[in-house]
């Protein structure tokens, strides 16, 4: 019996993605929101690696590499924005941040 067939990995990746989606919907702390987006990115990375193994070529690894680069850039700018918002409003509750004209 071999459990690590590809379909088990597909289940794992979709479950991870849905947990990240649940976090984005449930939490109001903006930093936790960013972390849940990281969870969803990681679920898609896992599935890209699984498909790369499944089809036997390494282009999926390149895409995971690029997605990690974009995640790093996104997190650095997003956290700088969150620090600015916290300095200005003294809160990072997403339901209070509803003004576009700060």
């Amino acid at each position: 019996m071999n459990l690590i067939g590809f379909e088990n990995y597909l289940w794992l990746g979709s479950a991870l993605f849905c947990i990240g989606l649940l976090g984005v919907l449930v939490r109001r702390n903006v930093i936790i929101l960013l972390m849940c987006i990281e969870l969803m990115l990681n679920a898609s990375n896992l599935l890209l690696v699984v498909f790369a193994k499944m089809f036997g070529n390494m282009n999926g690894h390149i895409f995971v590499f690029f997605s990690m680069l974009v995640a790093a850039a996104e997190v650095s700018v997003g956290l700088a924005l969150i620090v600015l918002i916290y300095r200005k409003f003294r809160t990072i509750d997403s339901s209070f941040l509803d003004k576009l004209k700060g």
């Binding site: 849905c18 939490r27 109001r28 990281e38 690894h61 590499f65 790093a72 620090v83």
Partner: protein
């Protein structure tokens, strides 16, 4: 029941439980710690999937750099479980329904198409044929990155310069407003 199966089950359980704890933990610091644990178990999955370079990059970039950045910002803001914002019960139930419904629909599609899926063990081969011996190593990845994907690679460097300029600009503006307030 060989060792890779046990490793797969253990890594999957750690991944899912820690991901749930990221969402459910009251204290944001605990959320970051559980997210780091999730990254490490995903690294285990990458090693099982013959993606050694991706596994190392996952530890260095995600668990090493990005998570430390999150932890740093959380420490800067002095947040704990007491001033953690909370959503209403109705909204939580709705969010749970949406997320579990999405998971259910994806799983239903899998189960419906299960006969068409290639049931191939991931241990040594993909779609029947054997993997190349250096699958997932740095050398073929570098060859691919600097020949076929060299243009996206250069574009990524422009993206990084833009992100760096943005972060530095936001950081310096934060300091000047702080001076004005004091």
């Amino acid at each position: 029941m060989d060792l890779t199966n046990i490793a797969f089950i253990a890594f999957s359980a750690i991944t899912l439980i820690c991901a749930l704890m990221v969402v459910l933990a009251r204290n944001p610091i605990y959320s970051v710690i559980f997210l780091i644990l999730t990254m490490f178990s995903l690294t285990g999955h990458y090693v099982l999937l013959h993606a050694q370079f991706i596994a190392i990059i996952n530890i260095i970039v995600y668990a090493g750099a990005i998570m430390v950045l999150f932890l740093f910002v959380l420490m800067l803001m002095n947040m704990n479980a007491n001033n953690e914002p909370n959503k209403s019960f109705l909204w939580k139930v709705l969010a749970g329904l949406v997320a579990s419904g999405m998971l259910m629909s994806i799983l239903l599609v899998y189960i419906k198409n299960m006969g068409d899926m290639p049931i191939v063990p991931t241990t040594n081969s993909a779609l029947g044929q054997a993997l190349p011996a250096d699958f997932g190593y740095i050398k073929p990845l570098g060859n691919l990155l600097f020949t076929e994907y060299v243009f996206p690679f250069e574009i990524a460097s422009i993206l990084f310069i833009a992100a760096m300029v943005g972060a530095v600009f936001l950081g310096s503006r934060e300091k000047s407003t702080n001076n004005r307030i004091n």
